[in-house]
Amino acid sequence: MMNDEKIRKYIEGELSGEELINFEKEINNSSELKREINTYRNTLIQFGKLKNVDAEGYYFTNILPRFRESISKKKQQEFKPLFAVGSVVLILIALVVIFIINNKQEVIEDEQITLQQLDNEELKTYLNNYSQDITTSQLTENIPEEYDSLFNSMIVSELNLSKYPGDYLVDVTSNEFNNILDELSEEEIEGLYNSLIKEDFN
């Protein structure tokens, strides 16, 4: 071990003065030591060849462009999760909007179908249940004309008008009624009023 350190120092030129002279004497007296030191020196000469290896220049020229390319790829990859999350959120929002719009249309369509497709019994039930909550115009505006006779019969039955001739029952809207009133004079209206208040509907 002591000799190892001396050999290392000798090879690396760290010995000087008397120490160097004594060790050189030792080397000259020992062929084994001389051979050992020569093999170490030979190893170092061999490895010295690795210092100046002639390499392909294109590799070093391309290091930087390849690095720049990988950086831009990494940036794109970093962007991807954000893009994916954004896309998912947008799709979800679109689905929710479509669902809401569809639901609304279904409700409207359901109402229209129900009113137009009700048979007489169903329509009576519907009117009994809901006629208190809506105005006359709301109630009648979407009802087809074929239900007019049904309404007439219902009104006749409700008001006990069966004893009166049917031709005075007119199916008018509030607008039409106002038009009729506009065409009448004050005297005619007064006359009608007086005759109506005298009429016994029971």
């Binding site: 190892d4 093999t39 170490y40 690795l50 210092k51 290896v53 392909e56 590799y59 390849r66 950086i71």
Partner: protein, 182 residues
């Protein structure tokens, strides 16, 4: 001193958004990074992987570099750490046979132009792979790069005495292997 000032200037320029300063730094140090990684790993493909990793670390971390050491010491430390990590990963993969053998990697593309000495260079690289990593590191820096023990100590953070001992152990082992080869 001029080199340190120049590095300082380049780092400052890069940190202020001048990408060309980073390019200059890469061109300045890429060969040293590559050859150290190559000697540590013994093949071109692994060395190339380390070069790209080191550049990426430099690119991301240069803004935190405070010049408490020279820039090359910092770059060297990154290169050395990455090389040692790769060698450890490689040895684990080889145990579980998940990676190509040394012979397969050696057969991969190489950048050595000197065809006459190519086989000799590969033989020396192969010998280097057979000594412990820490001894290999010191041997490369001393015997090939020709650094003084003080410089190696600055780079590796190890004591000069320990480095001398490691170096001579490495020299003895490699010499033994080369004699056995002959």
């Amino acid at each position: 001193m001029t080199e340190i000032n120049n590095d300082h200037n380049l780092v400052e320029r890069f940190n202020n958004g001048d990408e060309s300063a980073f390019n200059e730094l890469v061109r300045k140090y890429q060969q040293r990074i590559y050859w150290h990684a190559r000697r540590m790993t013994g093949n071109h493909l692994d060395a190339d992987e380390i070069v790209q990793e080191v550049l990426l670390v430099m690119f991301k971390k240069l803004k935190d570099f405070k010049f408490r050491s020279s820039l090359y010491t910092w770059i060297y430390t990154i290169t050395s750490t990455r090389s040692i990590n790769l060698l450890r990963r490689r040895s684990v993969r080889e145990i579980f046979s998940l990676q190509d053998s040394e012979a397969d990697r050696a057969a991969d593309s190489d950048i050595i132009k000197d065809l006459e000495n190519k086989e000799e260079i590969k033989r020396l690289e192969k010998h280097l792979q057979k000594i412990p990593i820490k001894q290999r590191e010191v041997f490369i820096l001393r015997a090939i790069d020709g650094l003084s023990y003080e410089e190696i100590s600055e780079l590796t953070g190890k004591s000069v005495g320990g480095l001398k001992s490691n170096y001579f152990h490495a020299l003895k082992k490699i010499t033994g292997m080369m004699q056995y080869d002959e």
